[in-house]
Amino acid sequence: MKTYYDNVLKEENTALHFPSFKNVDGVQKLVASMPDDLALGEWELHTLEDMKWNDNHQRPIKYWSRGIIKSMKWLMRQPAYTEHFICAPQCCFNSDTPPNRLYTEMHTADWWWETQVRRDTRV
């Protein structure tokens, strides 16, 4: 099926000579095949070979999953999140005397300080 955009792409002589996508699956396959972790990982069907529910249910146990590190990398490199990206903890104060500490976001709380910053290098 040829559409208007196919003709335009051909006239513009771009490298994109594939016809229009017929369904979402085609688009997602192409996006998932992008190299170098640029895309979210594809779904994988895993099977637990050595486990079963019980003797009456002998079917193998299956579950779907996707690489958690690939997903993390995908979230980290999104240009849309640049303004809201946080990579270091902060201490927010409301007033100097007496110091009023504000706890709002995740990086303003104590957990991030205790996990990332070593005690001897803390200011």
């Binding site: 019980n54 146990i61 993390m72 849309a80 990579c87 990086h107 070593r118």
Partner: protein, 179 residues
Amino acid sequence: MLTDVKSTLTVGDTLVPLIVMSDGTHLSNFAGDKKEWPVYMTIGNLSSKLRQMPSTHSVVMVALLPIPIKNRNIPQKWLDEQRQTNRKVLNEILRRVLQLLTFKQNPSAESGYYNVLCADGNFRRCKPVLAAWLADCPEYSDLHHLERHVCLWCECPKNKLGDYVPPDKKHPRRDHNLY
């Protein structure tokens, strides 16, 4: 354990707290009660203002857990054994899904660190850590294999929930490794 960070990061490393969410969802009463059990993930480096907007797609689905068979079809004497099996299966699957986050206690080991391209164009040496698991109360009791309507964090008896406890007589914390 996955959540235990014994030593802090070295200078220059970036912490990536992973926030994982899960909830069993009832889909249909037809064809024998269909359910889904998705596990979602987001990172704590994004501000909560951005994270809470669905249109930003900052929450990623990472796994679909299998639904255990119904307890109704199992005779009473096998029920405890079946619960043990369900517990083992769920633990095994979650262990496999989160396997890449585990790291050795040896600080010189490079496991658990990843060079990640960040949104501002720089590469950072990142350390993903499982920071939080968000779920509602029935989901927590499913994940921890507890009874329904009990306190998830301390060993408070069911009939004492909501009573005043003096600070020196607090109930002991639940050791989730025992279940």
